[in-house]
Amino acid sequence: MAKPRPSVVKRSIYSWILGRNTNLQLVVLVLIAITVFARVLPLEMQKRIVNEAIRLRQVDLLVRYCAIYLASVITASGLKYLITVLQVMISQRTLARMRKGLFAHIISLPLNFFRNTQPGLVVSSLISELTLPANFVGMAIAAPVINLLTLVAFAVYLFFLNPWLAALSLSIYPIVVFLVPLLQKRVNQANKKRVDATRSLSDKIQETISGIHEVHGNAAYDIENRKFGGIVDRLYRIRLRWDFFRASVKVSNNFFTSLGPFLVFILGGYLTIQGQLELGALVAFLSAQEKLYDPWKELIEFYQVYQDGNVTYTKTMRYFDSQPEHALAPSDRAPYRLEGHVEVKDLAFVTGDGIRLLDRISLELKPGEHMALVGFSGSGKSTLAQCIGQLYAYTDGQALFGNAEVRDLTKKDMALNMGFVAQAPFIFDGTIEDNLLYSCQAARDVSDGASEAPEPSLEDMIQVLHQTGLFVDTLRFGLNAMLDAERDHALVEQLVRVRKNFRQQFGKTLADYVEFFEEDRYLYHSSVAANLLFGTSKRKEFSGPALAANRDFIAFLEKADLKRPLMELGADLARQTVDILGNLPPDKVFFEQSPIAPEELEDFKPLAQQTRRHKLHQLTPEERYKLLELALRFIPGRHKMVSFPELLERLILEGRALFKEQIHKDHPDAFAFYDEGDYIFSQTIQNNIFFGKTKTTRPKAQDTIVQSIIQLLIEEDLLETIVGIGMQFQVGSKGDKLSGGQRQKLAIARVFLKSPHLLIMDEATSALDNNSQARIQNFLGTRLKGRTTVIAVVHRLDIISDYDKVAVMKAGKLIEIGSYDDLMAQKGVLYGLIHGKK
């Protein structure tokens, strides 16, 4: 395989200095040459001003020299700025390239690598560790050249002024040059340790956070604090040492260079007193010498950055210096199209420490054949599937896929022809649709634009949603979406029409499950605010938290005799909620039935205390506002920690009518009251179809509701539209807004959508309920049989009778293979497994 460039981890830090930065670096060099000249010129002018202009009392000379002085100072500063900008550009460009290169390399590394590598380490490597090396690359040409040149220029100038003095004052520098590397060596040692300790620290954090359930479960806070504390202390000591030596490099450098003027004063002063040196020359000499410090200091700093950067770079790159087990893409041909023929001969997989996970396995599958892999956990069935799927590189024997050796195929060849569903599939942040298209998109990228597979259509996607049983879930997401008045104009009108038919057809069936928006009934599954307003506000001051601060609204509450009773309710809610949830973590499970959000809880704690100690009228306006605002959120059907007095309920119903009258009079355009003929944009699609809200979370009832809606949507030809909206549901980071079953179904769906020739499923249905599992099994058996080769690692033995072949594994060996019926008739190991004999 021809490799155009060495892998990023093999590159030395120096290789980044030129390369694609060559042009910028050349520009820097030119600028430096001019800058150095512009830096030396003022010295000469200084001397001439004192010696010629002042001594000869010639104002025109003074003006001319000063002008030149000023011009060169401006030029030098301007150019220095330009050089710095270029330096930053180079280092940021390099940082970006290093990051991209290293990231691409890291994600291509074999799965094995990540067994021992915590994500935290990758994060810190990519984010913080590469900054120092990149800084070095930015400085690599500019810093040494400009400072060395300046130094040499000043030194020459000093010799030109007075060779003896020059030699004396420069005699200090060799000492520094000798001393600094000695100290720097210690700095480097400390830095290496620092990188290691930082790594352990990020590993530790990662470990604790991923295992937070265990920590809580065992109240192992002290253990974790001790472990973490130990590493932090070690890092503290190392950092202290690192900074101590770094500082000592700086200080000793400063000390020795400060000795320079001392020497010049002694010798130069003596020579001037003796009349052997002009005063102007001494002044020029002193200031020239003064100017030596800056470049020298910068050189030393550069030296430090170079050393630190080099150490960090080498440590980082060396850590990731493993090679991918398979080439990513073919370089000299198009990716193969492989038939679903699988043949495994004497396959073995031995780990680095000599453990034989797979032992001489041989089997063959014709295109379209289905095989179930069964066995105890640890028998190697997953490993076998992963070796055939190229996720692990087998160490011996052969695995042929479409007559090509899996080991020699590139990742792209595999991805184009095979679908793999992992046991714990990963769902990415984005919409359902994004995740559905993930495999297809990747496969299309593979085909290099010449996509043989067209982009899947909405119908294709809906089809796989059906096949995997994700359809109803997606429909639910759609039904729970809100519509936009502008964008969804047409749909809204349709939905309002649907509402009437819905009432006619299902009103009775669902009466037990749905609370309809009726003007003279209290809505127990809506908030107090919703009950009072009974509509959607078109103005900000009449919605959300602003409502409780709205003067008109407060005046209305007083008129309706509601202000104090509501505040009382708020106080009760605050006390009870704080009492129950006060010490619990901000988990969704705990706060689902709470009127107070987890982030507000701390605010409400002192308030709850206040309401115990004081009467309502003794509270501050701010406190009373908070209580009122809380009461307005109260939903009796959900917030069960307080009782809802009947009197208050009646007052609120009265208030609803009063509010409507009042608002019609005062702000006729501020509200859209719930009306059977209007769409309510502040409510979900489902609530709009119902013109009400569901009362229950019982699965059975939900099923009835969804079935009714589906029937209705089919009649109205809206089903696809709503599912389309559901596919825009954001699944959250790692898909955490989906249930385990939904994630697994989505992972299967995205592979089905790709329709590969070989489908490998590694306990892919383990998190599914019986129905969903049966549905997928049925799809495999009826639609894919004879078309797609399937290898399924199976945990539950009651679903394997549909497979053409069953392979039984034990301790890395294949001990039985054959058709289900044959194996059962043999009464061998499979028979024993199924009948519970071990």
């Binding site: 949830l581 010490n583 499970v589 705990f590 920690m641 009782s643 007095p645 979370t697 059975k700 019986n770």
Partner: protein, 175 residues
């Protein structure tokens, strides 16, 4: 622990308070401290079923436990020949405590005999809550072990009484 049982002067019977009272009667929860019980009481929900509604069915892994407030539930085994009723539960009975502790598929179905109201706790909520009070886990285990032993004892007694063979039937507490 503060004034804990919030004096709810206006009405002592909000759902949360009722749940709290119920939990104190269920063996699995009875001995737990008030602070913990409140969290459980808060997390419980009410569900109502009409006759023939299933609370759960064989092979489901529904992960819930129910306490009957009113009505009647039947534990049934569905066979090819029809249904066999194994037990009848009345108000005050608590069913499915084990499924709060670990996942597993149901061996039986639970069906409403008439309009029934239940208090329901789910495994997810139970697990999240108990994780907050890890020191209580041993107590929970204790009460599970106790009830298994009592069950075994009961079976032993009942079968000896009827003169039935015990072989292979009891001994679950010796697991």
């Amino acid at each position: 622990m503060d004034s804990s049982m919030e004096k709810n002067k206006s009405d002592a019977s909000c759902e949360f308070q009722q749940n709290l009272e119920i939990l104190r009667q269920i063996e699995l929860f009875a001995g737990l401290p008030m602070e913990t019980l409140k969290v459980f009481a808060y997390l419980c929900r009410r569900e109502s079923y009409t006759a023939e509604d299933f609370v759960f069915r064989e092979d489901d892994d529904d992960g819930q436990a129910v306490y009957i407030i009113s009505g009647q539930l039947f534990l049934i085994h569905e066979t090819d020949d029809g249904e066999e009723t194994l037990r009848t539960y009345q108000p005050g009975d608590f069913i499915g405590g084990l499924s709060l502790l670990a996942s597993g598929r149901r061996l039986f179905s639970l069906k409403a005999g008439k309009d029934t109201e239940c208090m329901v706790m789910t495994r997810e909520k139970f697990a999240k809550a108990i994780a907050q009070f890890p020191e209580l886990v041993p107590r929970i285990f204790r009460s599970v072990v106790d009830s298994i032993r009592r069950w075994d004892q009961h079976l032993l007694f009942a079968m000896t009484e009827k003169g039935l063979s015990l072989e292979g039937m009891t001994g679950i507490s010796a697991l």
